[in-house]
Symmetry: C2
Subunit: 524 residues, 2 copies
């Protein structure tokens, strides 16, 4: 097929490429340049043609699909719909602008999603073809840089007004113990607890590593020494450094599917080969992967929330022993558990020192505190410390590290966790009952008694899911499309984060979702 | 030659491998296992045999040389000295232990050196062979990880007592405006200026990027927008990310020699091929390098202090234009200038957007504030932001970023710079006169009217330099052996940092150096 869209003229108007492309395609369909029945290029082809990511290309088609301009035929392709379209009306244009704002706002937020750093890949926008541009203008990127830019996605716009988002927006700060935290900060910045000059090892402040070790012994049964702990500026830094240290170009690493997209991205940008580990209702299904590195979320599978049973944990450890492999246990949000009993972390069962345990304070404290850590097997202490120290010979964020150590030592952290666990538990139960009562015909909620989001499987068609998402945006709410976490296309699903919403907002948001579904039905 | 040293038994006693090796060799010489005239292995060979770095191997020989146990013959090799040795006496052993402590302390400090992050490569110690160990025990490191570990060096011990070190130890904190800074911190952590939840782009806090842009316009004549500025956790993070983005394995990059070892390390660990740029009394000598990436310190060449003349700056830009290359201008400590006039930065002369300007607050504020930044050509904004965001989707150290923005906005930073420039100027002049008056026969001081260290070329033999260093440690003082900054062996030289020493300490330290030289003379 040959494509001549008035793309450039839309590009001049719209801030994001995918929006320019959406409008250009819509204009071509409405204007008859692309008549009904025309076969459209695959998302891969579209992405190539317009130098956008495949995610953006999919989004363009999703939007056109939701609007009814195109249709997909499973296994056959995407076609311009055969309906005749009416001329674009003013109302329509306004609605589009609304969507534009909302989509940009919502797909762009690089906050934390269900306690994960959510660097969305839904919208690519500005950066997407900078790699290509660099090559054109004589600044060549390395293979690493090219892989990075191919998988790059970072855009942010503040959302406006009374939008109720079920996408992660950080924590419920009204209950945060500001005074205690400020006094810890003051201590850390003061002469008694502080040290503005003087040495801090690249692993991070020792006081905090000691406090973490003590916390892990009590709450997780992990016996770690401060020497085994390396602090990171968020756990993603640890994930990326581990892939750099351990993966040769082409060497395989296993990641859960669905799973945290950041891990897949880190593996691929390091040049490693991604093997997808199947996830069922009990979490990762152990297999005899031909790999020596595995990422897993046993305490609460991300994003489904499944808790990995003890026998599977043992089988993973046994696999690691046989393969001489390393397991990275990402315990991203199990601080908040209001029901059930936690199962021993892999790290606590790890007799052969094959497990790296990753933890984070971004959820348990607040999201602008970028503090993660790894508990390392002895042989990795040197390499991981060296990797961290290459970038930061002296670590950043020392003040906040010292403050957090103080906050933990004085019991402030435990008190805060207990209080928030109770609160989050109430919110989780409320959202769960609202969703199942009012949207039970749309979503199947997966069970879970910990964590800060609810994972919900869509019960209907993929097209209805896309239409529902678009309608929700128009109604001023949204949720995370779990497609972001699916490497291979799976059942459509949504993640509903609730840590930042109070009960009135939860109720309001669910009502908007209900209205959105009515909109979809009225239209179909 | 065949080596059978009682190495393992010394390894059990000494904390660091190089010390174990030093003692093992000394015992073998004293015990006659290695008789006078025996040719010893090259440092390369020794490093291989004992799995230590070449830097450590050199250090072992330096110590034996300083003690008189071995001798080197230029171009021929290293031999056991022909003198007959007396049995080890108690006094001797104690002196060794003293050296051991002092060497470990002084070569190990990973503070800032002449305003550079000083990850020493003088001593390797514990990490040196972890890479090998990982491979032995079934945790394979990637090529990147192996390159990292081959060039790894990180050890730290606090020095004791009344040691006076001319190695960098951070800043002179007694004049730091604590109250103003604390009030900025309080503002940043408070509800008016602070934001514990909410979005911070991966480039870092906008308020700080705006403040930096304003500062650069006034103090450097650089017209940068906040959008072109990316904040790092210290400038080393920026250097490493740039090498990762721009260097393919085997692709060449130019670094100054002598120059900051961190840059050479970053180039080599990224897999790039290091080309050494010649440095003379006017700084880097422009050449027609076959490369597309150059690191240079025009404002004040590191470590020599030379100021790059305008015509050389123009020639570098012209080279970059011809080669379609990027120049990374590392302006690491030119905030402090007490004489002369600064020349326009390359970035201010950069019409073709080929210059990345790197700056840092680690020296101008205090060393535990890990804050560096890059001013980027437009085409690199996307890739560099993406690279930073891969590791830190939300940046760390946001609180300190906001506090620094406040400190700059309220004029606190400018006042602090003015005050410290005057103070450092006085210290610099004092140290310069002390060194030239008392040690003028040993060192030739290179001129300089900015920065926080003095570079001094040794006037005598290499062996005398080694003996002098060892004697200085015994006298409770030390300085940075500039060999760390020399990729190819050059004239022995020392860096004397003074930012952390008051005038009494400067005087005391220089006197100790004088005594050390007397010790050397009495012995020879």
């Amino acid at each position: 097929m040959n494509f001549t869209l008035p793309y450039d003229q839309y590009l001049a108007v719209h801030r994001y490429k995918y929006l320019a492309l959406y409008h250009a395609l819509r204009a071509a369909i409405l204007g008859g340049t692309l008549p009904g029945g025309t076969r459209l290029p695959s998302t891969r082809k579209l992405a190539e043609l317009y130098q956008i990511s495949r995610g953006s290309a999919s989004q363009v088609y999703d939007m056109l699909l939701a609007d009814g301009y195109i249709r997909t035929e499973t296994g056959r392709g995407t076609y311009v719909a055969n309906d005749s379209f009416e001329p674009v009306e003013q109302e329509r244009v306004e609605a589009d602008q609304e969507i534009e704002g909302a989509v940009a706002a919502t797909s762009a937020f690089a906050g934390t999603e269900g306690s994960k750093d959510a660097v969305t890949n839904a919208v690519t926008g500005e950066y997407a073809d900078v790699g290509a541009a660099c090559n054109r203008t004589g600044i060549p990127l390395s293979g690493w840089g090219q892989r990075l830019m191919e998988r790059n996605v970072l855009i942010y716009e503040q959302e406006e007004g009374n939008f109720v988002s079920f996408r992660s927006r950080g924590m419920l700060m009204e209950y945060f113990p500001y005074e205690e935290w400020r006094s810890a900060l003051k201590y850390a910045g003061g002469k008694s607890g502080g040290r503005m000059e003087g040495y801090c090892p690249p692993q991070g402040e020792e006081s905090l590593r000691l406090a973490i070790a003590a916390h892990l012994r009590v709450t997780r049964g992990i016996r770690a020494e401060a020497e085994q702990i390396v602090l990171f500026n968020g756990s993603m830094q640890g994930i990326v450094l581990l892939t750099q240290l351990l993966l040769e170009p082409g060497s395989p690493a296993v990641a859960e599917d669905p799973g945290f997209h950041g891990i897949r991205r880190a593996v691929e940008i390091s040049g490693g080969k991604l093997l997808l580990g199947k996830v069922d209702g009990s979490g990762l299904v152990p297999q005899d992967w031909a790999a020596r590195l595995l990422f897993v979320t046993p305490s609460r599978q991300f994003p489904t929330g499944a808790v990995l049973p003890l026998d599977r944990r043992r089988r993973l450890l046994e696999w690691a022993r046989r393969q001489e492999a390393l397991i990275v246990e990402d315990d991203y949000d199990s601080e908040f558990r209001w029901g059930g009993r936690p199962i021993e972390p892999l790290k606590a069962l790890d007799r052969e020192e094959r497990v790296v345990y990753l933890g984070s304070f971004s959820n348990s404290m607040f999201s602008s505190l970028r503090l993660g850590y790894a508990v390392l097997p002895p042989l990795l202490i040197g390499p991981v410390t060296a990797a961290k120290a290459l970038y930061e010979p002296l670590p950043g964020g020392q003040l906040e590290q010292r403050a957090l150590a103080r906050f933990m030592q004085t019991g402030g952290y435990s008190r805060h966790l207990r209080r928030m666990t109770r609160l989050y538990g109430e919110r989780a139960r409320l959202l769960r009952s609202l969703l199942s009562e009012r949207l039970g015909q749309l979503f199947e909620l997966l069970p879970g008694d910990a964590g800060l989001h609810i994972y919900a499987r869509w019960r209907r068609s993929r097209a209805e899911f896309a239409a529902f998402r678009a309608a929700a945006l128009r109604r001023g709410t949204d949720f995370r499309d779990a497609a972001l976490y699916q490497a291979a296309p799976g059942v459509p699903a949504a993640c509903f984060s609730f840590a930042h919403l109070d009960s009135a907002q939860l109720e309001n948001g669910v009502n908007r979702l209900l209205l959105a579904w009515e909109d979809v039905q009225n239209r179909m």
